[in-house]
Assembly symmetry: C2
Homo-oligomer: 357 residues x 2
DNA sequence: GCATGCTATCGAAACGTTTCGAGTCGAATC
DNA sequence: GATTCGACTCGAAACGTTTCGATAGCATGC
């Protein structure tokens, strides 16, 4: 009988004290096989006496081959990713479902631009699945690594690698729908503010070379293509340098609006509500009234309580999207192989669009 | 020689193919003991040939007794917690340090009010440490559980359980400092908007019974006590029902400001920048100008790019706080027992305070 | 020529569970 | 009284690593 100094008690210690075998003690805690009530009580009593709080999760995981954690890959600094309320809504819905499994979400940040470094970061982590929801477009070296490890991958809105199960929307159709709305109000001089086409894109006018029609599944590309389907390839389009951000929207808005009046667009279609908020503030800073002097549309359908407008937007129900994502993950862990799904989106007219003056 | 169907290759498979022992193969991947260059190459070649991506993290963790994950306990729905930019700043700083370890952050939500359910949720998770940074005040049943498991605990701004290592500030002194600033401008009719005193508190005037002088370490209590040290116990104070939130601030602001002018405060001291933003918007909705008709102060020092004011605030440098927290965690995992630290805070005067009209 | 030390490798024993097949024992059945 | 059955319990074999101590080979120093 070895005295085990400071160490935490193990199932073996408990079993010994209760006078049963280790396997029986295990049965008591897992609640599987049949155990006599008296035995169960004895084991539980021994556990309390020793301060045993339950089977060691690490050992249990090794045995099961499940870690109980799914990875959430976040592009760039957390601070940036979490500034996007849509991403948070997705995460929220996801957690809602995962809490019932139970599975935790392991946040994995990719410090800006350090493409390759994510693999060594990922390698020592035990993950049952990985979600790319907070990641932008483009090839991610993590995909190859995870595929090799056989870890199921999920995403919303990342382009269509066959190995990734997706919850997506028809980006281009959504882009067309909201552009049509603006056009139907009578606007003809309309500009577009996009999220970056590529991870490497910089803020400013969108270069034609970056808009590849084959990539219509990438949110930024698909939405721009939809916009151009309605307003033509010559309509001016700028992109932010930092995804869906308020500051990016404000800067883009200023560049589009701080021009002679006859050049100024009467409406701006943006790719996210947060960007739209930036554009609206930029407009108001220049003395323009929304929607009287300028109509602005967003995308996502998030809640921005501080903004004194309800943005006209395409609602893509982030929380619900996250919940669906969660369900897919759960199904996959249960052994089935769920297929990607396409979610509907809906135009929601707010107080930021009106016919041109 | 067993054929191992679909399963992932293990270190044993690699060793076998390379014609070395398992222990040698292990040495190659961990980079510890001395290995002949030729042997190393042979092992690596075998690994690539078999598609072996590195030692199984689960097994490795069991052996080491380290899971590579630290838990981040989040109170309530993720969506709510992540609305608080200060919390995110702390998380961001934390991740910055942890990425170098490498360790991931496992998000653990506590679905609203379900006090007890957190323990069964925690029990099956392998965690090297737990951080309470996103949790409000009050006794958390998780603390007992984690203490029993011997998992080190850390927090910012949760009251002083001796088992929890803290990065704190002197809440009361900070409360005094900012109240002094307002008083020195000449304000005499000043109200306070607090975060909830207790997890169970509801929105509205702060009941005296909830303000326990012994709990001055709880942010909401300490800051209110500091305020009262300057403006007296009779100065009106209301609390939000949902922590540090814009909506909570707006509602509280409206209740304090939508009264006859002679009753209206000339300044409002709040417990967070987000709350302050809500108060400012409420004031502007009532036609009051900030700071001409009303001075408003915040707390935290976060960046709210959408607000056309720079809030006068106590800067507590969330990101830096998170980094320090990360360093403490790392030290603890390295075997030392770091002590709690108290960080300085600094008054930062912005554009939301001025002498009364 | 023998002790000494160093390098490269190996076998075996953990780490703490879960699970499977087998075994015991008492009660019920014929 | 032998047989069958069920409820309960157990031992042993995984799960895939890492690490400790031992061993073998080989050069060095006296």
């Amino acid at each position: 009988m070895v005295t085990r100094g400071q160490a935490r008690p193990t199932l073996r210690d408990v079993a010994e004290r209760a006078g049963v075998s280790v396997s029986t003690a295990s049965l008591v805690f897992s609640g599987k096989g049949p155990v006599a009530e008296a035995t169960g009580d004895r084991v539980r009593a021994a556990a309390t006496a020793l301060g045993f709080t339950g089977p060691n999760p690490l050992a249990s995981s090794l045995r099961h081959g499940r870690s109980g954690a799914i990875g959430v890959l976040v592009e760039g600094r957390l601070r940036m990713a979490f500034r996007d309320p849509f991403a948070i809504a997705v995460l929220d819905g996801l957690s809602e479902v995962l809490e019932t499994v139970p599975t935790g979400m392991l946040l994995i940040g990719q410090p800006a631009g350090s493409g390759e470094s994510v693999v060594p970061q990922l390698a020592p982590l035990a993950l049952d699945a990985v979600v790319f929801s907070l990641c932008g477009p483009g090839e991610n070296p993590a995909v190859e690594h995870l595929a090799a490890r056989g870890i199921p991958m999920f995403s919303t809105g990342v382009p269509g690698d066959r190995r990734i199960t997706q919850v997506r929307i028809d980006e281009r159709a959504a882009g067309i729908a909201i552009a049509e709305h603006v056009r139907s109000l009578g606007h003809r001089r309309v500009a577009h503010v996009a999220m970056p086409m590529l991870p490497s894109s910089t803020a400013g006018p969108v270069p034609d070379a970056e808009v590849r029609p084959g990539e219509a599944n990438v949110p930024s590309v698909g939405r721009l293509l939809g916009f151009r389907d309605v307003f033509g390839a010559n309509a001016s389009a700028v992109q932010t340098g930092d995804g869906s951000s308020f500051e990016g929207g404000r800067i883009a808005g200023r560049s589009l609006l701080d021009v002679p009046e006859h050049e100024r667009p009467t409406a701006i279609v943006t790719q996210s509500d947060v960007i739209a908020a930036g554009v609206i503030v930029a407009a108001e800073e220049l003395g323009l009234r929304v929607p009287d002097d300028l109509s602005v549309t967003g995308f996502d359908g998030v809640d921005l309580p501080w903004l004194p407008h309800r943005i006209t937007t395409m609602d893509q129900q982030g929380r619900e999207k996250g919940r669906i994502l969660g369900t897919l993950v759960r199904k996959r862990l249960d052994g089935t192989r769920p297929r990607s799904v396409t979610q509907p989106v809906q135009l929601r007219v707010g107080t930021t669009t009106a016919p041109p003056a």
